[in-house]
Protein backbone atom coordinates (compact mmCIF):
# COMPACT_ATOMS: atom_id res chain seq x y z
CA UNK A 1 0.00 0.00 0.00
CA UNK A 2 1.35 3.36 -1.01
CA UNK A 3 0.72 5.35 2.12
CA UNK A 4 1.38 8.68 0.45
CA UNK A 5 -1.22 8.01 -2.21
CA UNK A 6 -3.70 6.82 0.40
CA UNK A 7 -3.06 9.87 2.56
CA UNK A 8 -3.54 12.15 -0.42
CA UNK A 9 -6.79 10.47 -1.40
CA UNK A 10 -8.04 10.57 2.15
CA UNK A 11 -7.23 14.26 2.30
CA UNK A 12 -9.04 14.84 -0.96
CA UNK A 13 -12.04 12.95 0.33
CA UNK A 14 -12.11 14.87 3.56
CA UNK A 15 -11.88 18.24 1.82
CA UNK A 16 -14.53 17.31 -0.66
CA UNK A 17 -17.08 16.09 1.81
CA UNK A 18 -16.51 19.09 4.07
CA UNK A 19 -17.10 21.38 1.10
CA UNK A 20 -20.38 19.62 0.36
CA UNK A 21 -21.56 20.37 3.87
CA UNK A 22 -20.26 23.92 3.77
CA UNK A 23 -21.96 24.65 0.48
CA UNK A 24 -25.21 23.36 1.86
CA UNK A 25 -25.60 20.31 -0.36
CA UNK A 26 -25.63 18.04 2.64
CA UNK A 27 -26.71 18.38 6.22
CA UNK A 28 -26.17 16.45 9.44
CA UNK A 29 -28.51 13.65 8.45
CA UNK A 30 -26.01 12.56 5.80
CA UNK A 31 -23.38 12.09 8.46
CA UNK A 32 -25.95 10.16 10.51
CA UNK A 33 -26.30 7.81 7.55
CA UNK A 34 -22.54 7.42 7.29
CA UNK A 35 -22.50 6.25 10.89
CA UNK A 36 -24.69 3.34 9.83
CA UNK A 37 -22.17 2.10 7.30
CA UNK A 38 -19.43 -0.32 8.22
CA UNK A 39 -17.15 -2.93 6.64
CA UNK A 40 -20.08 -5.32 6.54
CA UNK A 41 -22.31 -2.81 4.76
CA UNK A 42 -19.91 -0.67 2.73
CA UNK A 43 -22.55 0.33 0.20
CA UNK A 44 -25.31 1.36 2.56
CA UNK A 45 -25.09 5.08 1.94
CA UNK A 46 -24.74 4.81 -1.82
CA UNK A 47 -27.69 2.41 -1.91
CA UNK A 48 -29.91 4.70 0.09
CA UNK A 49 -29.06 7.78 -1.96
CA UNK A 50 -29.56 5.79 -5.11
CA UNK A 51 -33.10 4.97 -3.94
CA UNK A 52 -33.56 8.61 -3.16
CA UNK A 53 -32.51 9.70 -6.64
CA UNK A 54 -34.88 7.16 -8.17
CA UNK A 55 -37.62 8.61 -6.00
CA UNK A 56 -36.75 12.11 -7.19
CA UNK A 57 -36.93 11.11 -10.81
CA UNK A 58 -40.29 9.38 -10.46
CA UNK A 59 -41.89 12.07 -8.34
CA UNK A 60 -40.69 14.87 -10.58
CA UNK A 61 -42.16 13.04 -13.54
CA UNK A 62 -45.53 12.62 -11.85
CA UNK A 63 -45.66 16.18 -10.64
CA UNK A 64 -44.66 17.47 -14.03
CA UNK A 65 -47.63 15.71 -15.56
CA UNK A 66 -49.95 17.05 -12.89
CA UNK A 67 -48.76 20.57 -13.64
CA UNK A 68 -48.88 20.25 -17.39
CA UNK A 69 -52.25 21.69 -18.29
CA UNK A 70 -52.78 25.17 -16.89
CA UNK A 71 -56.53 24.71 -16.65
CA UNK A 72 -56.40 21.40 -14.89
CA UNK A 73 -53.79 21.23 -12.15
CA UNK A 74 -54.28 18.74 -9.37
CA UNK A 75 -52.51 20.68 -6.63
CA UNK A 76 -53.33 18.02 -4.09
CA UNK A 77 -51.41 15.49 -6.04
CA UNK A 78 -48.49 17.84 -6.56
CA UNK A 79 -48.49 18.61 -2.85
CA UNK A 80 -48.44 14.92 -2.05
CA UNK A 81 -45.44 14.46 -4.34
CA UNK A 82 -43.61 17.36 -2.74
CA UNK A 83 -44.37 15.99 0.70
CA UNK A 84 -42.82 12.67 -0.22
CA UNK A 85 -39.82 14.34 -1.77
CA UNK A 86 -39.34 16.55 1.24
CA UNK A 87 -39.49 13.52 3.48
CA UNK A 88 -36.97 11.45 1.65
CA UNK A 89 -34.57 14.34 1.04
CA UNK A 90 -34.70 15.04 4.75
CA UNK A 91 -33.98 11.39 5.52
CA UNK A 92 -30.80 11.34 3.47
CA UNK A 93 -29.55 14.81 4.32
CA UNK A 94 -30.11 16.32 0.87
CA UNK A 95 -30.37 19.83 2.23
CA UNK A 96 -30.79 21.91 -0.92
CA UNK A 97 -33.40 19.58 -2.34
CA UNK A 98 -35.28 19.71 0.93
CA UNK A 99 -35.20 23.50 1.00
CA UNK A 100 -36.64 23.75 -2.49
CA UNK A 101 -39.42 21.44 -1.35
CA UNK A 102 -40.32 23.87 1.40
CA UNK A 103 -40.90 26.67 -1.12
CA UNK A 104 -42.56 24.21 -3.43
CA UNK A 105 -45.10 23.32 -0.76
CA UNK A 106 -45.95 26.96 -0.33
CA UNK A 107 -46.64 27.32 -4.04
CA UNK A 108 -48.95 24.32 -3.88
CA UNK A 109 -50.86 25.74 -0.94
CA UNK A 110 -51.57 29.00 -2.73
CA UNK A 111 -52.16 27.12 -5.97
CA UNK A 112 -49.50 29.03 -7.83
CA UNK A 113 -48.85 26.99 -10.95
CA UNK A 114 -46.04 29.18 -12.23
CA UNK A 115 -44.33 29.02 -8.88
CA UNK A 116 -44.75 25.28 -8.83
CA UNK A 117 -43.19 24.94 -12.25
CA UNK A 118 -40.20 26.99 -11.16
CA UNK A 119 -39.78 24.89 -8.04
CA UNK A 120 -40.09 21.73 -10.06
CA UNK A 121 -37.31 22.88 -12.33
CA UNK A 122 -35.19 23.82 -9.36
CA UNK A 123 -35.73 20.52 -7.60
CA UNK A 124 -34.77 18.70 -10.77
CA UNK A 125 -31.60 20.74 -11.03
CA UNK A 126 -30.67 20.27 -7.39
CA UNK A 127 -31.12 16.54 -7.24
CA UNK A 128 -29.10 16.03 -10.41
CA UNK A 129 -26.36 18.28 -9.10
CA UNK A 130 -26.25 16.36 -5.84
CA UNK A 131 -26.20 13.09 -7.71
CA UNK A 132 -23.08 14.16 -9.58
CA UNK A 133 -21.38 15.42 -6.44
CA UNK A 134 -22.08 12.25 -4.51
CA UNK A 135 -20.92 10.13 -7.40
CA UNK A 136 -17.59 11.93 -7.21
CA UNK A 137 -17.52 11.34 -3.47
CA UNK A 138 -18.23 7.63 -3.79
CA UNK A 139 -15.58 7.38 -6.50
CA UNK A 140 -13.05 8.84 -4.10
CA UNK A 141 -14.10 6.28 -1.52
CA UNK A 142 -13.51 3.51 -4.02
CA UNK A 143 -10.10 4.85 -4.89
CA UNK A 144 -9.13 4.95 -1.22
CA UNK A 145 -10.28 1.37 -0.69
CA UNK A 146 -8.53 0.15 -3.80
CA UNK A 147 -5.34 1.81 -2.67
CA UNK A 148 -5.65 -0.19 0.53
CA UNK A 149 -6.74 2.65 2.77
CA UNK A 150 -9.75 3.22 4.99
CA UNK A 151 -12.39 5.87 4.54
CA UNK A 152 -12.00 8.67 7.05
CA UNK A 153 -14.75 9.45 9.52
CA UNK A 154 -15.41 13.11 9.10
CA UNK A 155 -16.69 15.21 11.95
CA UNK A 156 -18.58 18.12 10.48
CA UNK A 157 -19.41 19.88 13.70
Amino acid sequence: MNTTVVAQLQRQFQDYIVSLYQQGFLDNQFSELRKLQDEGTPDFVSEVVSLFFDDCSKLIDTMSRSLERPDNVDFKQVDSGVHQLKGSSSSVGARRVKNVCISFKECCHVQNREGCLRCLQQVDYEYKMLKTKLQDLFNLEQQILQAGGTIPQVDIN
Binding site: E32, F44, K86, G87, S91
Partner: protein, 204 residues
Protein backbone atom coordinates in the same frame (compact mmCIF):
# COMPACT_ATOMS: atom_id res chain seq x y z
CA UNK B 1 -42.53 -27.51 30.00
CA UNK B 2 -42.41 -25.63 27.65
CA UNK B 3 -42.35 -21.91 28.05
CA UNK B 4 -39.23 -21.76 30.10
CA UNK B 5 -37.51 -23.61 27.32
CA UNK B 6 -39.03 -21.43 24.70
CA UNK B 7 -38.10 -18.26 26.53
CA UNK B 8 -34.49 -19.22 26.92
CA UNK B 9 -34.05 -20.71 23.50
CA UNK B 10 -35.64 -17.88 21.59
CA UNK B 11 -33.58 -14.96 20.44
CA UNK B 12 -33.10 -12.17 22.93
CA UNK B 13 -33.45 -9.65 20.13
CA UNK B 14 -36.36 -7.29 19.96
CA UNK B 15 -38.46 -7.91 16.91
CA UNK B 16 -39.59 -4.62 15.49
CA UNK B 17 -42.28 -4.10 12.88
CA UNK B 18 -41.54 -0.89 10.96
CA UNK B 19 -44.28 0.68 8.87
CA UNK B 20 -43.56 3.43 6.34
CA UNK B 21 -44.74 4.16 2.82
CA UNK B 22 -41.39 5.66 1.81
CA UNK B 23 -38.89 3.20 0.44
CA UNK B 24 -35.98 5.41 1.46
CA UNK B 25 -37.26 5.71 5.02
CA UNK B 26 -37.87 1.98 5.29
CA UNK B 27 -34.31 1.29 4.28
CA UNK B 28 -32.97 3.78 6.81
CA UNK B 29 -35.13 2.66 9.73
CA UNK B 30 -34.31 -0.95 8.97
CA UNK B 31 -30.61 -0.24 9.15
CA UNK B 32 -30.99 1.86 12.29
CA UNK B 33 -32.79 -0.99 14.00
CA UNK B 34 -30.47 -3.71 12.78
CA UNK B 35 -27.45 -1.81 13.95
CA UNK B 36 -29.18 -1.58 17.33
CA UNK B 37 -29.37 -5.39 17.37
CA UNK B 38 -33.04 -5.69 16.57
CA UNK B 39 -34.73 -8.08 14.25
CA UNK B 40 -36.71 -6.04 11.72
CA UNK B 41 -39.72 -6.58 9.52
CA UNK B 42 -40.66 -3.66 7.28
CA UNK B 43 -44.01 -3.12 5.59
CA UNK B 44 -45.15 -0.32 3.34
CA UNK B 45 -48.58 0.45 4.72
CA UNK B 46 -50.87 0.27 7.70
CA UNK B 47 -52.98 -2.28 5.87
CA UNK B 48 -49.97 -4.51 5.31
CA UNK B 49 -49.07 -4.14 8.97
CA UNK B 50 -52.49 -5.35 10.00
CA UNK B 51 -52.21 -8.24 7.59
CA UNK B 52 -48.86 -9.16 9.04
CA UNK B 53 -50.28 -9.12 12.53
CA UNK B 54 -53.32 -11.04 11.38
CA UNK B 55 -55.63 -8.21 12.35
CA UNK B 56 -57.16 -7.61 8.96
CA UNK B 57 -60.67 -8.69 9.76
CA UNK B 58 -59.99 -12.08 11.28
CA UNK B 59 -61.40 -11.17 14.68
CA UNK B 60 -58.03 -10.37 16.12
CA UNK B 61 -56.79 -13.90 16.35
CA UNK B 62 -53.40 -13.93 14.84
CA UNK B 63 -53.20 -17.67 14.41
CA UNK B 64 -49.48 -17.22 14.00
CA UNK B 65 -48.08 -18.66 17.20
CA UNK B 66 -44.53 -17.81 16.29
CA UNK B 67 -45.21 -14.19 15.60
CA UNK B 68 -43.49 -12.19 18.27
CA UNK B 69 -43.49 -8.47 17.74
CA UNK B 70 -41.99 -6.47 20.57
CA UNK B 71 -42.33 -3.02 19.11
CA UNK B 72 -44.15 -1.32 16.27
CA UNK B 73 -42.72 1.81 14.73
CA UNK B 74 -44.93 3.57 12.25
CA UNK B 75 -44.93 6.70 10.14
CA UNK B 76 -47.85 9.00 10.81
CA UNK B 77 -48.75 10.25 7.33
CA UNK B 78 -49.36 7.35 5.07
CA UNK B 79 -51.89 6.93 2.29
CA UNK B 80 -54.78 4.65 3.21
CA UNK B 81 -54.51 3.81 6.88
CA UNK B 82 -52.60 6.51 8.74
CA UNK B 83 -50.19 5.72 11.55
CA UNK B 84 -52.72 7.08 13.99
CA UNK B 85 -55.44 4.76 12.69
CA UNK B 86 -53.04 1.85 12.84
CA UNK B 87 -52.22 2.76 16.42
CA UNK B 88 -55.89 2.70 17.32
CA UNK B 89 -56.48 -0.65 15.69
CA UNK B 90 -53.57 -2.14 17.56
CA UNK B 91 -54.71 -0.76 20.88
CA UNK B 92 -58.20 -2.06 20.23
CA UNK B 93 -56.90 -5.56 19.72
CA UNK B 94 -56.73 -7.78 22.76
CA UNK B 95 -53.89 -9.72 21.23
CA UNK B 96 -51.65 -6.79 20.44
CA UNK B 97 -52.61 -3.89 22.65
CA UNK B 98 -49.66 -4.51 24.94
CA UNK B 99 -47.16 -3.97 22.17
CA UNK B 100 -45.59 -0.53 22.38
CA UNK B 101 -46.29 1.59 19.32
CA UNK B 102 -44.07 4.50 18.37
CA UNK B 103 -45.14 7.12 15.86
CA UNK B 104 -42.72 8.89 13.52
CA UNK B 105 -43.46 12.10 11.72
CA UNK B 106 -41.61 14.76 9.81
CA UNK B 107 -43.98 17.35 11.26
CA UNK B 108 -43.75 18.59 14.79
CA UNK B 109 -47.44 19.21 15.35
CA UNK B 110 -48.22 19.35 19.05
CA UNK B 111 -51.94 18.41 18.90
CA UNK B 112 -51.04 15.48 16.68
CA UNK B 113 -48.43 14.27 19.14
CA UNK B 114 -50.84 14.61 22.04
CA UNK B 115 -53.53 12.77 20.18
CA UNK B 116 -51.17 9.86 19.59
CA UNK B 117 -49.99 9.75 23.17
CA UNK B 118 -53.56 9.80 24.41
CA UNK B 119 -54.37 6.93 22.13
CA UNK B 120 -51.59 4.96 23.80
CA UNK B 121 -48.48 5.58 21.74
CA UNK B 122 -45.31 4.81 23.62
CA UNK B 123 -43.34 7.65 22.08
CA UNK B 124 -43.21 10.04 19.18
CA UNK B 125 -40.12 10.46 17.01
CA UNK B 126 -39.46 13.44 14.81
CA UNK B 127 -38.02 12.55 11.43
CA UNK B 128 -35.37 12.25 10.22
CA UNK B 129 -34.74 9.47 12.69
CA UNK B 130 -31.22 9.18 14.06
CA UNK B 131 -29.25 6.44 15.71
CA UNK B 132 -29.57 8.14 19.10
CA UNK B 133 -33.37 8.06 18.78
CA UNK B 134 -33.40 4.34 18.13
CA UNK B 135 -30.96 3.63 20.95
CA UNK B 136 -33.10 5.60 23.36
CA UNK B 137 -36.19 3.83 22.14
CA UNK B 138 -34.65 0.44 22.61
CA UNK B 139 -33.63 1.27 26.16
CA UNK B 140 -37.13 2.49 26.88
CA UNK B 141 -38.69 -0.70 25.60
CA UNK B 142 -36.24 -2.96 27.40
CA UNK B 143 -36.66 -1.05 30.64
CA UNK B 144 -40.42 -1.03 30.23
CA UNK B 145 -40.52 -4.76 29.78
CA UNK B 146 -38.37 -5.30 32.86
CA UNK B 147 -40.77 -3.17 34.86
CA UNK B 148 -43.61 -5.28 33.50
CA UNK B 149 -42.27 -8.30 35.26
CA UNK B 150 -43.34 -6.90 38.58
CA UNK B 151 -46.69 -5.52 37.52
CA UNK B 152 -49.40 -8.10 37.50
CA UNK B 153 -51.82 -6.05 35.49
CA UNK B 154 -49.43 -5.89 32.60
CA UNK B 155 -49.02 -9.61 32.29
CA UNK B 156 -49.21 -10.87 28.80
CA UNK B 157 -51.38 -13.81 27.85
CA UNK B 158 -48.29 -15.92 27.47
CA UNK B 159 -47.70 -16.01 31.19
CA UNK B 160 -51.26 -17.01 31.93
CA UNK B 161 -50.94 -19.76 29.39
CA UNK B 162 -48.07 -21.17 31.27
CA UNK B 163 -49.99 -21.42 34.51
CA UNK B 164 -53.34 -22.93 33.86
CA UNK B 165 -54.26 -23.22 30.28
CA UNK B 166 -52.76 -25.69 27.93
CA UNK B 167 -53.66 -23.85 24.84
CA UNK B 168 -55.99 -21.05 24.13
CA UNK B 169 -57.08 -19.84 20.73
CA UNK B 170 -57.01 -16.25 21.80
CA UNK B 171 -53.53 -16.35 23.13
CA UNK B 172 -51.12 -14.69 20.86
CA UNK B 173 -47.54 -15.46 21.36
CA UNK B 174 -46.71 -11.82 21.29
CA UNK B 175 -45.36 -10.35 24.39
CA UNK B 176 -44.40 -6.83 25.08
CA UNK B 177 -41.39 -8.02 26.99
CA UNK B 178 -38.14 -9.02 25.47
CA UNK B 179 -37.99 -12.74 25.20
CA UNK B 180 -34.72 -12.87 27.02
CA UNK B 181 -36.60 -12.61 30.28
CA UNK B 182 -37.41 -15.80 32.08
CA UNK B 183 -41.15 -15.78 31.93
CA UNK B 184 -41.75 -18.59 34.37
CA UNK B 185 -40.28 -16.80 37.35
CA UNK B 186 -43.37 -14.71 37.64
CA UNK B 187 -45.74 -17.49 38.67
CA UNK B 188 -44.63 -17.66 42.22
CA UNK B 189 -45.48 -14.06 42.85
CA UNK B 190 -49.05 -14.29 41.74
CA UNK B 191 -51.72 -15.69 43.97
CA UNK B 192 -54.13 -17.85 42.05
CA UNK B 193 -57.05 -15.48 42.52
CA UNK B 194 -55.21 -12.80 40.62
CA UNK B 195 -54.31 -15.20 37.90
CA UNK B 196 -57.94 -16.03 37.37
CA UNK B 197 -58.85 -12.37 37.23
CA UNK B 198 -56.22 -11.74 34.62
CA UNK B 199 -57.36 -14.70 32.68
CA UNK B 200 -60.86 -13.35 32.35
CA UNK B 201 -59.62 -9.93 31.31
CA UNK B 202 -57.53 -11.47 28.59
CA UNK B 203 -60.48 -13.38 27.26
CA UNK B 204 -62.56 -10.23 26.80
Amino acid sequence: MALREIASSSSPELHVLAVDDSFVDRKVIERLLKISACKVTTVESGTRALQYLGLDGDNGSSGLKDLKVNLIVTDYSMPGLTGYELLKKIKESSAFREIPVVIMSSENIQPRIEQCMIEGAEDFLLKPVKLADVKRLKELIMRGSEADEGKTKKLSPKRILQNDIDSSPSSSSTSSSSSSHDVSSLDDDIPSSKRIKLESRVND
